[in-house]
């Protein structure tokens, strides 16, 4: 059982199932409703009892009254009984029939008065009787009545049933008649039933009861388990007459309670049955399907198998919300499947696009010329260019190519926007520009025609800033045109980089029909041009400050003698230093070209060099001592050029006042190093060497640098020859560098960019 399952089980333990919850609710409900039923039924039963009791009592009293009223002469009888209570000889509690005293008396009366109906004799009839016969009649009637009243008592199961008389004070009760149960004794003792004529003193409550009865005609009051009832029957002989009734409520209460209790229990039973049915239904139609859904969902969570859950839940039938839930869950599972497939395919698509973008980027990158040195056999100029893209494929580009043997075309451009559209537009622009240039057109014509071509196919209104220049290599004449691009930075030999604020035409691609203008610039040997896109001055740091053209110019001017490679490295270092951690926002595209002057050929060039130095000597002689001299030549590294190189160095040294012996020694080193380059640097091909000469008269020091762009080679690494070997053992060679090392003050080597640079220094 793993962690997840354990967690799930613990989660499940918390909380009660729906059936127990509902069952508890039902139970409580049943209890409460049972209680309510009980209470309300009890209340009803109480009032029922009360009503029943009253009705019962009324009924009984009614019966008794009727029995009395059956005798038409009942008024006379009641009075007579009251007045002659002591004298009457009454036969109590007999069943009618022959053999009884009453029967005898009745027979006697019937004999004496044949027309007399004992039953229905009225007051007049009685008045016609002899006094002793009236007594007889009273006794017979009383017997009949008492029997009747007993019957009533028995049949209604009353405890006491009697008729009493009382005066206004209601302090005493005169018993007229009192019903007796079967087999009861008549008398005044406990358990005996009162005969006619007994007078008792009543309790306070009975007194009040009777008074109330007089007032309200009847009075019903519970007395513990019993109920006392008095019905006012009117007056007899100046006295109030009541029919009194006492009976035991218990039976009635018991009966009623049984009824109500029975009803309550029935109600509760019904509730319980219904609740159980409800629970069962709940179980069948809600819980079980829910559990099934839950189980299937759990399983789906683990295996994500939508067909399994679909199958499992297909058996969930209830056509209720649970059924719908089950269907929805299955739908959800299927949708999850689709969703996952979707995501997978989207991800795959994304990766594919990413891979293609990478490829596109590589293609774009390879379109820019990137071999350096660009034209190894053309030493009239040095070019170096770099493009460092920002995150996406970019729209900056540079280009350089020879239009013909004497014309070099330089391009730098910046396409609006980023990403694939800019890259595509960049490729198109580059090709259009170079095609136009290769036709031999001038920069203005190239831009004009390129603009026309691009505008004709530019529905997206993209545009590109371009600076394009064509250099006539033999003369150093540069013709250029600028279509909305950054000002180029130009350095004249001996000066420093400054922005050339050339005239800006409109950016290419913006509007058709634009005619561009070009301008001319004369380059001298040593002139440098630095081209760039706005990524350079607009490179920003974390504080959103921009690098700016001032800092750019400072970095460019950091080292006046630096070659294009070094210049680019300086700029890059300056930008890195400024930007530090901030993300590169825009492409950094730069191109630097240094013009070295026309190709030196055998005749004219050498003379020119010689002439220059000869002419210069008298004038310079006086200045030489004071001014530091810098000069350099670029020359094919061929052994036959050695005299020219020597002439170049030695004449300058002479002018500077260097002693002959030192000149000779320096010359030796120059020869050795130049010859090394000539023999080895480009073997088996040839290349050029640049010799730079710096004379500092104040320090009386000479520094000469030898630069070649051949294979990397540090001559100082070579082991010194053993100078003590004998002739036979000495190998031929290896002496040149050794001589240099021994005769010069310092010899240093540096690999700068793609060049070997050897520097010697000598004090004189």
């Amino acid at each position: 059982m793993n962690e997840e399952n354990r967690e799930q089980i613990n989660k499940d333990r918390k909380g009660i199932g729906i059936i127990p919850q509902v069952a508890i609710f039902f139970a409580i409900g049943v209890l409460i409703s049972g209680l309510i039923a009980l209470v309300s039924l009890r209340a009803r039963s109480d009032s029922t009892i009360r009503r029943e009791t009253e009705a019962f009592a009324e009924e009984v009293a009614e019966d008794v009254a009727l029995s009395v009223g059956e005798f038409p002469a009942h008024e006379w009888l009641l009075q007579y009984w009251y007045e002659h209570a002591d004298e009457l000889d009454i036969e109590y509690d007999v069943t009618f029939g022959p053999g009884t005293e009453t029967e005898r008396k009745a027979t006697l009366l019937a004999e004496r008065y044949p027309g007399l109906s004992l039953r229905y004799a009225d007051a007049d009839d009685i008045a016609a009787l002899a006094p002793e016969d009236r007594k007889l009649y009273a006794e017979v009637a009383y017997s009949w009545l008492i029997t009747r009243v007993n019957e009533i008592k028995w049949s209604h199961d009353a405890d006491f049933l009697f008729c009493v008389l009382t005066d206004d004070s209601c302090e005493t009760q005169f018993f007229l008649f009192s019903a007796a149960s079967m087999g009861a004794e008549r008398g005044t003792n406990y358990e005996e039933v009162y005969p006619l004529g007994v007078t008792v003193t009543v309790s306070e409550s009975q007194r009040d009861a009777m008074k109330s009865a007089v007032r309200d005609k009847s009075y019903l009051a519970p007395a513990g388990k019993y109920v006392d009832y008095y019905a006012y029957m009117g007056d007899v002989g100046g006295m109030h007459s009541f029919i009194g009734l006492t009976y035991d409520l218990q039976a009635l209460t018991h009966e009623v309670n049984q009824q109500t209790g029975g009803s309550a229990v029935l109600a509760m039973l019904y509730q319980i049955i219904q609740s159980s049915l409800c629970l069962l239904l709940l179980f069948a139609f809600v819980l079980k399907p829910l559990q099934k859904i839950l189980r299937s969902l759990r399983r789906y969570k683990d295996d994500k198998d939508s067909s399994a859950i679909s199958e499992a839940l297909s058996g969930v039938h209830p056509h209720n919300e649970i059924g719908k839930l089950s269907e929805d869950v299955v739908d959800l599972a299927k949708e999850m499947d689709d969703h996952v497939k979707n995501i997978a395919s989207i991800t795959a698509e994304k990766e594919r696009i990413g891979a293609e973008l990478d490829l596109a980027y590589k293609i774009q990158e390879s379109m820019l010329p990137h071999d350096f040195p660009a034209f190894p056999d053309r030493r009239e100029f040095d070019i170096y260019a770099t493009m460092d893209p920002a995150k996406e494929v970019g729209g900056d580009f540079y280009d350089y190519f020879l239009v013909d043997d004497d014309h070099l075309c330089l391009v730098i451009a910046d396409v609006s926007g980023k990403g694939v559209p800019a890259a595509l537009f960049m490729m198109a622009s580059k090709i259009i520009l170079s095609n136009n240039a290769m036709m031999g057109k001038s920069p203005a014509e190239i831009l004009t025609d390129a603009n026309a071509m691009i505008c004709s196919n530019n529905p997206e209104d993209m545009f590109v800033t371009v600076w394009l220049g064509i250099l006539e290599i033999s003369t150093g004449k540069l013709i250029a045109a600028n279509a909305g691009h950054e000002y180029p930075a130009v350095r004249d030999p001996g000066g420093s980089f400054e922005l050339l604020q050339d005239k800006h035409g409109l950016v290419i691609g913006a509007m058709d029909g634009i005619r561009y203008k070009e301008y001319e610039l004369q380059l001298e040997p040593g002139s440098k041009i630095f081209l760039y896109t706005d990524g350079v001055p607009e490179a920003d740091n974390a504080d959103k400050e921009m690098f700016g053209t001032d800092k750019m110019l400072d970095a460019l001017n950091m080292n006046g003698h630096a070659d294009p490679v070094e210049i680019m490295e300086n700029i890059k270092a300056a930008i890195d230093d400024f930007v530090q951690e901030a993300e590169q926002f825009d492409d950094l595209t730069m191109l630097c070209i240094e013009y070295n002057g026309p190709k030196p050929d055998e005749g004219a060039a050498a003379d020119a060099v010689g002439q220059n130095s000869e002419d210069a000597v008298p004038a310079l002689a006086e200045e030489a001592a004071a001014e530091p001299l810098h000069d350099e030549i670029m020359i094919d590294a061929l052994p036959e050029n050695l005299p020219k190189v020597m002439e170049f160095v030695e004449s300058r040294l002479e002018t500077a006042g260097c002693p002959a012996g030192t000149i000779s020694m320096i010359g030796l080193s120059v020869e050795e190093l130049f010859v090394n380059i000539a023999k080895y640097a480009y073997a088996p091909e040839t290349g050029s060497a640049r010799i730079g000469l710096d004379i500092m008269p104040e320090q009386r020091e000479v520094m000469i640098t030898f630069a070649d762009s051949g294979m990397p080679y540090n001559p100082l690494e070579k082991e010194d020859p053993d100078v003590h070997l004998s002739a036979d053992d000495r190998p031929i060679g290896g002496l040149g560098v050794y001589l240099v090392k021994e005769t010069m003050d310092s010899v240093t080597y540096e690999r700068a960019g793609y060049r070997n640079v050897l520097t010697i220094k000598k004090r004189y």
Binding site: S664, I732, G733
Partner: protein, 99 residues
């Protein structure tokens, strides 16, 4: 520039050098000596008018010294101070016979 004046007398060859013995001119010396040294037993080189020597020149001297060591002898005369300095630095002062 180098001027070479060679004279041969039986087995002795004399060469008077004037100018510079450097990369450009050494091949000339080499060629000319090669032409005459067959069977020579003595080689004398006069450096009085020689101003300058570089490693190319040293190489030629070494090659011929080795050759003459087998055939006979070789010596240099009238070596100036500068060139002498070079010979010393390179240890050639011990290989060559200098008078």
């Amino acid at each position: 520039m180098l001027n070479i004046n060679i004279s041969k007398e039986d087995a002795k060859v004399s060469a008077v050098l004037e100018g510079r013995l450097d990369t450009v001119t050494s091949p000339d010396l080499e060629k000319e000596l090669d032409a005459v040294l067959e069977g020579a037993e003595e080689l004398v080189l006069d450096f009085e008018k020689l101003e300058y020597i570089s490693s190319a020149g040293l190489r030629v001297l070494l090659a011929n010294q080795k050759r003459m060591n087998k055939q006979g002898s070789m010596k240099l005369v009238n070596v100036n101070d500068t060139i002498m300095g070079i010979f010393e630095v390179t240890g050639f002062s011990e290989i060559l016979t200098i008078e």
